[in-house]
Amino acid sequence: MNKYSFSSYVLIGRGDACILILWLHPTFNYFLLYDGSKVKEEGDPTRAGICYFYPEETPLEQQELLCGQLAGVSRCVAELSTSPVRLLRLRRSKFAVRMREQFLWALSSSVDVPDVSICEFLDQLISLFCFYNGPVRQSYQLHSRADLSAHWAKYLSHLQGGSTELHHIFSCLQTIDATKIDPLLLLKAALILQACQRCPLVLAGCILYRGRIVSTQMPPSLTLKVMVHETETYNQEHRPPANERSTFSTGGQSSTMTTPVFLNPSEVQALHSAGELCCFFSTSRSHCSPQPDPRARKSRLLSRTLSDTPFSEQDLTNSSPSASCQTMPCSHRSSLSDESCFSPSPGSSQDSAHFAATHQSEDSSHADSESHDYKLSNGITLSEVNGDSKEAVFGDKEETMIKTIIGSVEEGNSLTNGHHLTLEDEKDQNHEDHERHLHRPVKEERLDVGRRVLGDSPEKMWREENRTCGEEIDSELLPMVLYEHRVRALVLALLVEPQFPTDRTAPEEVYHSSLASLNGLEVHLRTSSSGAPGPPGPYSFAHYDCIQNTLTTNLSGRLPGPQDRSFVRATALLHSHFSHTYSAQEAIIRSAGAAVYGTRSAAQETFFLQHAATARNSGIPNPLDSAFALPNKARHRLLKHGVNLL
């Protein structure tokens, strides 16, 4: 009978708060993989179809109940709609669902997790499995259920682990806090990766430090997959995992290993086209015939980073031979000299002296380099970096390359090379041609990504998404190898062609050429990342980069207060709103307790809340209301975090 009371809602309201607190360490309620092909006849027990069930300690009866009901209802709905089910919602939980062939995956979470996020998680989970194990059907034919269950458990714990609820809303990658470290290190990391790419067997790579990205050349989805293995091995210290193929040179703190992995064709294609892009950087790639003189390759191709010229020796001598000799006393430019450019602390006295010298000379050359005076967030102008070296060492082409990289560093602390965004075209009349080559593919890619993010219509985007995941499950996966080189907490992870581990020279070359640079980088990161976080300021913000799938926020690392919780709640709502409504650009939403401003573009989403005792207001439209001043405040406050909302 119609008894109207709000008391139950108040209770539910309180319940929400509880769920949110739990959600700080979000747990997936259930995850299951069910193989319908095993349960066909009337008499077949449901348990025969359960490939994996999380939590594993769930009583078998309950496992059977859930699997049976979900599989049954999903099949019925799929038949009615002639399309696989994507999401099943219950009153107290929701299941993201994938149906492919006879398999059914379902991942459940609390109702507070946005739909887009839980679906994204499930797709990540499935693609992680395929990345390390290959096609699902085949894996279950080749390996025992127990083994594969261990894998699922590992991927699940990886996706749940560590990060904050905000990271879960956006299901984004964890990067190192770029504002706390010297941007030069980011540059150096990028250059190490580029250097590795000169080996034709290397497709792309990324550098991770303590489970966070320092630099990556891969699209976010791939980086995420690579990170799982890294985190796992980092946790296990040096215990090699079961499916590891080979480990060589495990001396001291440095070790490498290779793991077979599987990529879908579109990923491989993306990497190949990115690789071609790199060819523009390194014309020398053409010199890199399958069997060149190993020594020559080593010195020319793999050991250089910032001071390195990617072009042939001839080019280099033509451009500025004397200068080159001047700054680089070591004629063969070993990795040692490379390191000396970056690390003032360790290394020989000679290196320190050299470092000092470069520093001195930069003052004089500073005036010449102002045309590329890239201000970085910590106040260092990047022209200091390329100051003398540009004049002295780099040919014009290298300059362009540096600029590209700098551009990527500047652009919202972007860390990727292959996927960076250059918002303004760099105009360099001297090298227009070269630049065109250089930027064209990048821009096209960017457009492509933009299209994917923006979408012409929700349906299209949805289809697009489905295609990507469907492809993962359906299509032929191509075997590749993941090469990892660990220096303490620092890892260089490269995706390489399958023949890389057996290649006569490639593994050794990549190893030796990057070893010293990695050591140097590790020392720097170790010393610089120890700094305590600054005061968070009287506001909360989250800045999500949709293209690189990264998040910048001042929320992590402090105990969430009530304001933070309202911020996270509003952010989750706004994020799901933005992901449905493609024309929405900015929004302010206000409850009695908090007003949150959200703005988004094709490339980013930013959310902002000003901490303040909310002035009492009636909610009636009032131009003087403080909530409407939020956009200005956000613009102002976030500038110092490197977020430009103009």
């Binding site: 209802v73 919602r89 709640r569 900015e586 009636s618 439209p621 909530a627």
Partner: protein, 678 residues
């Protein structure tokens, strides 16, 4: 691709409604599993088979996990929304992207509301409701289903085209002088005359109102009547629109880009003759509710045997039995029987009379008994097996004597209640005699049984065939109609135009375009009164609205519709202010509270409701009433009023100006909404 069905726990379809696309696709699917040459089964059977696994899985989940499905969505964006009311499972499906999850949920709640209005407290017993929704008699079933299907279609049409059904608040015709005259006329002349007439057969007019299309011209309630809630008034308007759909308006035509727009779905309609350039051939005959017109031979085959049965037309003077919420001095009664007389004055203008029926006293008693048994059940379930001396004893004894008296009264009137008598005797035997179980858990099934019997009496009195034999005489009805027709004769044309262009952006006294440059549209809602004001958005081929015509006007209409959805979504989560820059437009939404003198009250934290809560609105499940009650707890000393304002501006206008506009608008609109209902 739309479908809505109600199923019992035993997976029997109690009611279904589908659009032709869904029916066709379901037939194809079902046909695939059929052998060639075999005649396809009745559609009712195939839909039963198709949905059975879902229905069964639902009850398994409830039984075994204590959780139930609320929605499914598929990769091609089909949406299924499920909701369980007591033992009936409602499933709404959309596969064409025209309805959101919220729309489907709303549709389910509206169907629930409509069944409550048609069947009253019979809906409280699933056993009886099942019989009512799916009578054994095919002809009767056909009639019931037709009626509900028609009501659902009417609702969908109104929700898609009428702003008042979009925001679920009644729109009034803004003409204070005429409005007052009409109210006076209804009070002094019409209602008084009917209620003093000898031909009224014991009925008493409690409410009388005049509708011009969906807009309210005048509303009068007699002094001793309970107020009519907004929810009921909106549902009654759906009913009136179902009987006399206003698609017959000559201005209403179907432009090409408004494909799904007007109500009846017509397939393979022959091209209109070249001279007939306004799509007149697609007009529906005046007094015919929109029904499917199957022309395609493939679909023709699919026509269910049920649909080929012709429903005999009802006597137009027969009133409809409706069950409305009343609050009397005796207490609150959610579903009191009334008779509704719907008298069409001219196409588009209708006089509606709501009468109290003579034996409604029985409904009040039954409601009290049902309440009593529910309380008793709760106590028994909690295990308070008190001794006769416990304080719980008194209400039971009181209940006992009242029911005894009730049965005696029934016996003296000509209402047959043998089952009630026998069940009650058995109940008394078990509960109060020495050899019985006393007031213990064993009594629970008997409580349930008593409730069913009480509902059965209610059904017998108010719902069953022939229960509405008594009525105002036809002559009296005619006289009433003529009276009001005479009164409004000179205003007829004006009213019809006014209903299309109630307030316009250029109309006096609010010249919106001059005062608020950049303002595209607004909706102002007084939630305490359940009324709204908005410039007309009627998009017709001939009459251009302020928005012009063609794609832009449709685009803005679509924007307004989607923005209402967005505002509701945030309100559900406790946000009372939303501003949104969306494409080239800027959208604002505000909800606030005032006291009676217009003093603005402070905002309070509004509860954030879970996703599966009832839809935000007034028609099906009055959210705003709950909200007002919730707020009143914080401001116990004052009468609290709740207002909402939605605006759409051009995006190029600076935000400061937009906010200024909003605040000025809120101040200006405060007055016109004060036209009293009475």
């Amino acid at each position: 691709m739309k479908c809505l069905l109600v199923a019992s726990e035993s997976a029997e379809v109690l009611f279904y409604w589908t659009d032709p696309e869904f029916e066709l696709s379901a037939q194809e699917q079902y046909g695939a599993s059929q052998e060639d040459g075999e005649r396809p089964p009745a559609f009712e059977d195939s839909i039963n088979t198709l949905f059975a696994p879902i229905i069964i899985s639902c009850s398994t989940m409830v039984d075994q996990l204590g959780d139930s499905y609320t929605s499914f969505s598929t990769e091609n964006n089909h949406i299924y929304v499920l909701h369980q009311f007591d033992e009936c499972l409602y499933i709404a499906v959309n596969g064409d992207g025209e309805e959101s999850e919220d729309d489907l949920k709303r549709k389910i709640y509206v169907l629930k509301k409509l069944t409550e209005m048609l069947f009253g407290m019979v809906t409280l017993s699933s056993t009886l409701l099942r019989k009512e929704l799916r009578p054994q008699d095919t002809e009767l079933r056909c009639r019931v289903w037709r009626k509900l299907q028609g009501l659902l279609e009417t609702y969908s049409r109104l929700r898609d085209h009428d702003q008042s059904f979009l925001v679920e608040a009644v729109e009034r015709l803004i003409h204070p002088t005429l409005c007052e005259q009409c109210i006076e006329f209804l009070e002094r002349r019409l209602v008084q005359q009917i209620n003093t007439s000898v031909d009224r057969a014991g009925e008493e007019v409690q409410h009388a109102f005049i509708l011009v299309h969906t807009k309210l011209l005048a509303f009068y309630s007699s002094r001793n009547a309970s107020t009519l809630t907004s929810s009921d008034l909106l549902a009654l308007i759906i009913l009136v629109q179902h009987f006399y759909p206003s698609t017959t308006d000559p201005e209403e035509s179907t432009p090409e880009d408004m494909d799904s727009a007007s109500a009846p779905e017509i397939f393979y309609t022959p091209e209109p003759s070249p001279t007939d350039n306004d799509s007149g051939s697609e007009r529906v005959e005046p007094d015919k509710p929109p029904v499917f017109q199957f022309v395609d031979p493939d679909i023709q085959v699919a026509v269910d045997s049920l649909q080929t049965l012709e429903v005999p037309p009802q006597d137009p003077s027969t009133p409809s039995r409706v069950f409305l919420e009343t609050t009397l001095k005796e207490g609150f009664f959610p579903m009191m029987p009334h008779s509704m007389y719907c008298l069409p004055m001219w196409p588009g203008i209708t006089l509606v009379l709501l009468t109290k029926i003579p034996n409604s006293q029985i409904a009040m008693s039954i409601y009290n008994f049902l309440e009593g048994f529910t309380k008793l059940e709760k106590r028994l379930a909690e295990g308070q097996q008190g001794s006769p001396a416990s304080r719980g004893q008194l209400p039971v004894n009181e209940l006992r004597s009242k029911i005894d008296k009730f049965i005696r009264v029934l016996g003296s009137s000509d209402i047959q209640a043998p089952f009630l008598q026998s069940v009650w005797a058995e109940f008394k035997n078990r509960a109060f005699s020495r050899g019985g179980s006393g007031l213990s858990k064993e009594l629970l099934p008997w409580c349930r049984n008593m409730k069913i019997q009480l509902c059965a009496i209610y059904r017998q009195c108010y719902v069953a065939e022939g229960s509405s034999r008594q009525r105002l005489s036809t002559a009296l009805q005619d006289r009433a109609l003529t009276m009001v027709q005479d009164k409004l004769m000179d205003w007829k044309e004006f009213l019809l135009v006014k209903s299309k262009r109630n307030i316009t952006m250029v109309s006096y006294p609010l010249t919106y375009l001059e005062e608020f440059p950049g303002l595209v549209h607004f909706i102002y809602i007084d939630r305490s009164a359940g009324q709204m004001i908005a410039p007309s958005l009627s998009i017709t081929e001939r009459a251009t609205s302020e928005l012009g015509k063609g794609p832009l006007a449709h685009f803005i209409k679509a924007k307004v519709w989607s923005l209402v959805g967005i505002a509701r979504r945030y309100l559900q989560k406790g946000y009372t202010t939303v501003t949104l820059r969306d494409g080239d437009y800027f959208f604002c939404y505000f909800l606030w509270f005032e006291n009676e003198t217009g003093f603005k009250l402070d905002v309070v934290e509004i509860p954030s409701l879970p996703d599966d809560s009832a839809p935000i609105g007034m028609l099906a499940c009055d959210y705003y009433r709950k909200l007002l009650r919730y707020y009143s707890k914080c401001q116990p000393s004052e009468v609290v009023k709740c207002y909402e304002l939605l605006t759409v501006h051009l995006g190029v206008i600076p935000t400061e100006y937009i906010l200024q506009h909003c605040s000025q608008l809120a101040r200006k609109l405060w007055e016109p909404s004060r036209i009293p209902l009475l």
